[in-house]
Amino acid sequence: MAEKNTKGAISIKNVTKIYDPEGVNVMAVDDCSLEIKSGEVCMIVGPSGCGKTTLLNAIAGFHSITEGEIYLDNEILCGPNKPLADQGSDRIVVFQHGALFPWKTLQENVAYGPIVQKVLPKNEALDKAGGLLEEAGIGDMMKKYPGEVSSGMARRAEIVRALINNPKVLLLDEPYRAMDALTKSIMHESLLEVYDKTNVTIFFITHDLEEAIFLGDKVVVMTTRPAKTKLILDVDIPRPRNYQVLSSEKFRVLVNEAKDAVHEEAIKAFEAGERELA
């Protein structure tokens, strides 16, 4: 995990996604284009149910796209001839409600990827998993089941479970949504620490603008459904970052710059009052 990542550039070109539950077409994403450089932290901000997750699902290979193409390091993931991307360990998702297997200990969870991919024998995978959990500061917890630890611990272990596979991209779907502000701040710092170590490309969905600016290199504000990019903000706050950033002048200026755009979309989304799509 020490070497710097040079892979994981994502290129989203003119992607459109139309759902048709019960024969009524619903456009979730409309002609959305976005370039994410390798090793970049790209934060996607938008009102709930705007189609952010649709984009993540397309990259991860959970859902197909209707039009457009998505590339990973110039190789096509999905496009007109192959609407559904293959799922693979080069793009690992950390889920909104957490998806550690409750029937495996934290250590077994983390070792799962290398074991099923047969890159390491079981013992070595478990040893490596233990080591990584130790590094992440939750070594004491590794023999526990996810149901026995706090949500913060579980989420941290889930990120370790992703990183042990050396993914090109980490896809995070509002992973800290259900957490209280204090836990959230600890999670942010540990994610920044992980990022500074691995430089993995991060595609992070959130509806929290301050979180987005604090963590991201690039903040993409999406319009309400159908989603397209409304505003792209480059965050030129130097890394490594810590909590001092939050009170800096630059941070405040960036938040102000994006606030109106986010607020405008939030109002539109609220007035449309449509049910959120998965």
Binding site: G88, F95, H97, L100, P102, Y112, V116, Y145, G147, E148
Partner: protein
């Protein structure tokens, strides 16, 4: 930090007993059982209510049960009683094993493969509501002897329960576990073994607990209709021979063994799902 040695097993047991005695549970249990026995005694032997005047009271039943030389033919000491218990338990064991062996894999495949479910679900749903007594003539026509039809009926009843619960168990698994496994590079077989099976286990064991109970229901029904031994037969036979004391003994025995078997299934389930036991314990359950 103070180094603490792990408590020994006997210490844990003592601690648990001590803790249990501080909760109302054991006292309420004793109170509940006494209340029930007291009412039973008063209705039959105390007040002799007309509704109960043909039934033997608890005192009479207990005396007979413990009598080495039973007045009505059957007590704890009679070999015939042991035979009845042995036959019923053996049938339950065979029926439950067959039902579990077929029902769990069937339910898992039905939950996992939509195609397989499309083939098989309508058949399951058509056969399931047919009451077990309606199968009795068919069982007697199909199988020769006395033993096979009875086991067949008990198996059938618990098979449906097990299959349906397993299927629901697979359906209950959160989609994100499947996605996570796939992301981490799991093959379809891996997903089946590491997500479908463990994820469905809680429902499977709930199903098995019900199914072992259902196996007893249908076993007794079948034994009453056709059979030579067994607790169901004993109930019916005692009724025919007007030995009501033996009938009550058989009923209580049945209840006791039914309880033991479900407790055993629950115990196995908890052994296999430590992850769940621990998580529930933290929620105070």
């Amino acid at each position: 930090m103070i180094a603490k040695s792990e408590p020994s097993n006997s210490q844990i047991v003592l601690y648990k007993i001590g803790k249990a005695l501080k909760t109302p549970t054991p006292y309420l249990t004793i109170f509940g059982v006494s209340l029930w026995l007291g009412a039973y005694y008063l209705f039959c032997e105390g007040w002799r209510l007309p509704l109960f005047n043909k039934l033997p009271g608890p005192y009479e039943v207990i005396v007979e049960w413990l009598n080495p030389d039973p007045d009505w033919g059957i007590s704890l000491y009679s070999p015939e009683y042991h035979d009845h218990i042995y036959y019923s338990c053996r049938r339950i064991l065979i029926a439950f094993a067959i039902a579990t062996g077929i029902g769990v894999p069937l339910g898992l495949f039905m939950g996992w493969s939509k195609k397989f479910r499309d083939y098989s679900f309508p058949i399951l749903e058509t056969l399931r509501p047919i009451p077990i007594l309606a199968w009795v003539p068919l069982a007697i026509l199909m199988f020769s002897g006395l033993e096979t039809p009875v086991i067949f009926l008990a198996t059938l009843a618990s098979l449906f329960v097990t299959t349906l619960n397993t299927l629901l168990g697979v359906n209950s698994i959160d989609e994100s576990y499947f996605r996570a496994a796939k992301c981490l590079g799991a093959s379809n077989t891996d997903v089946f073994l590491h997500v479908v099976v463990p994820g469905a286990l809680p429902f499977i064991f709930t199903g098995l607990e019900i199914s072992v109970g259902v196996a007893w229901f249908s076993l007794v029904a079948a034994e009453m209709v056709s059979g030579e031994f067994g607790l169901g037969y004993m109930i019916n036979d005692s009724y025919m021979n007007i030995t009501y004391v033996s009938m009550v003994i058989a009923m209580l025995t049945l209840g006791f063994f039914g309880w033991i078997t479900s407790a055993f299934v629950r115990w196995v389930g908890n052994r296999m799902m430590q992850w769940r036991v621990k998580a529930l314990a933290l929620e105070g359950r």
